[in-house]
Symmetry: C2
Subunit: 247 residues, 2 copies
DNA sequence: CGCCTTCTTGAGATGACTCAATGGTGGTGG
DNA sequence: CCACCACCATTGAGTCATCTCAAGAAGGCG
């Protein structure tokens, strides 16, 4: 499987769960120690994935799923002409690439690419499916995650289907800001967050072209709403952004 | 809760599961008899919902979820200006309105309206949540449903975000045709299916205006691809539709 | 220094929207 | 049985948001 080629193992020994930098948001959150122990034994190595490398692609049948420890990953779907529609950005703590269908002919219906260098913790799909079937709490937890993802997906649909370009982009920026804030990755003094997305990716995620994304971002900058430079983005006027985004 | 006003109880005695006309697609599919018995005891009355009545709305905290027995229901999300983005059409057998979050402040993030008169079987949210926590198989089943819904949602996002109007509409028509075919609701001799959607709803579901939807449908008719009349739709040239839809 | 990716900007094309008006159809009540 | 009304489909004219194509500028990296 080609996607595996990009994955570079980091350590040979499983990392104890307590050391997981994002334990509180990962799959085994809120599961009691017994289950966590069981999760530990299933945990595989950590892997590095370099920026721009593909984690998996539409049509793959990956044998691992991952918890993202650090970095950004973009999930997207593409059509025959090669146009991309971004689905969502996975941030540290998110659970990525799980294929619930046991059927060996089941295939991923979207692709995942590293926006930045990423550190991932791998689980075998089979092990995960086994754990889920065995532990109702874990299944329940996954249900919640899926519901949350579904809600976000619906919000994106509303944006892409019904909003103007500036609304879509403003919404995405605020959403990422808020998610990064809960991860403690924004500088609250300057309202600055890491922002590794290219304008092309921003367009993918909002259903716009890169060119038009550029025009909107320039307008935002001219209007003194945000300042984007050097892989980071500073929000100057959050209220105006919220207003535009209809958040 | 206003949405309850539209629901008209049909029978006072729970309908035995074996009589469920769509048993094979409902939540308790593939769950063994013990669970099914438990599900039976939780099953509430059946309800009628008339066409155009709302089942629940964004912001509601409904105390029931439903299995749709007959009729069509449209789920959608709307923004402050009142624009609607259709999320999906629920057909008989689909599970509708479940709110997994136990938190009493949790709210529905989309609305559901009856496209046609509908017959629904109700479950108390609390009972469902209890059953799910107790029975891993049931949780697992729900996971599969959510994954399937998520995949469909992503397909819609690709359509709405990246495809031309005729592609979006062709895709929706074929998708509905296929779903109705598995339900045995198409006349295979004439390739005709029931089609209660107005052009306005069709526009909601594809991120288009009613007016533009009309123009596309007229073109489809002029090109002898489909014929839509009298609440039903006949597909004359499926291959051409598939080609357009990039299915 | 030179290459490659990303960003920027312009000019023109076009798909989809808005506004507006008309026609059809089915249901309802007098 | 007819008149009316509500809803839906149809069509035209004009506008606008976004796209396409194209080219140049600005960085980062070996």
């Amino acid at each position: 499987m080609r996607s595996r080629d990009s994955l570079i193992p980091v350590t040979q020994t499983p990392t104890p769960c307590a050391h997981c930098p994002v334990r509180e948001r990962a799959l085994y959150q809120a599961v009691d120690d017994d289950y966590i122990h069981s999760a530990q034994t299933k945990r595989l190595n950590q892997f590095n994935l370099s920026a721009k490398r593909t984690l998996y692609e539409e049509g793959d049948h990956p044998d691992m799923a991952f918890t993202l420890f650090s970095g950004w990953i973009m999930m997207y779907r593409s059509d025959r002409e090669g146009d991309r529609q971004g689905l969502r950005i996975a941030l540290p703590g998110d659970f990525v690439g799980f294929l619930p269908d046991t059927n060996p002919s089941a295939r991923m219906n979207h692709s995942a690419v590293a926006v930045t260098d990423a550190l991932l913790c791998g689980f075998r799909q089979d092990d995960l499916r086994g754990m889920l079937k065995q532990h109702p709490q874990l299944s329940w937890q996954l249900n919640s995650f899926q519901s949350r993802d579904m809600a976000a997906c619906q919000t994106t649909m509303l944006n892409v289907g019904r909003k103007m370009a500036d609304q879509r982009i403003a919404h995405l920026l605020v959403e990422l800001y808020d998610r990064l804030e809960t991860l403690g990755q924004v500088d609250k003094r300057t309202n600055t967050m890491p922002f590794p997305l290219t304008q092309s990716m921003l367009g993918d995620l909002t259903g716009l072209t890169q060119v038009h994304t550029n025009r909107v971002m320039r307008r935002f900058r001219d209007d003194n709403l945000v300042l984007c430079s050097n892989q980071s983005l500073q929000i100057h006027n959050r209220n105006a952004l919220l207003e535009i985004a209809d958040y």
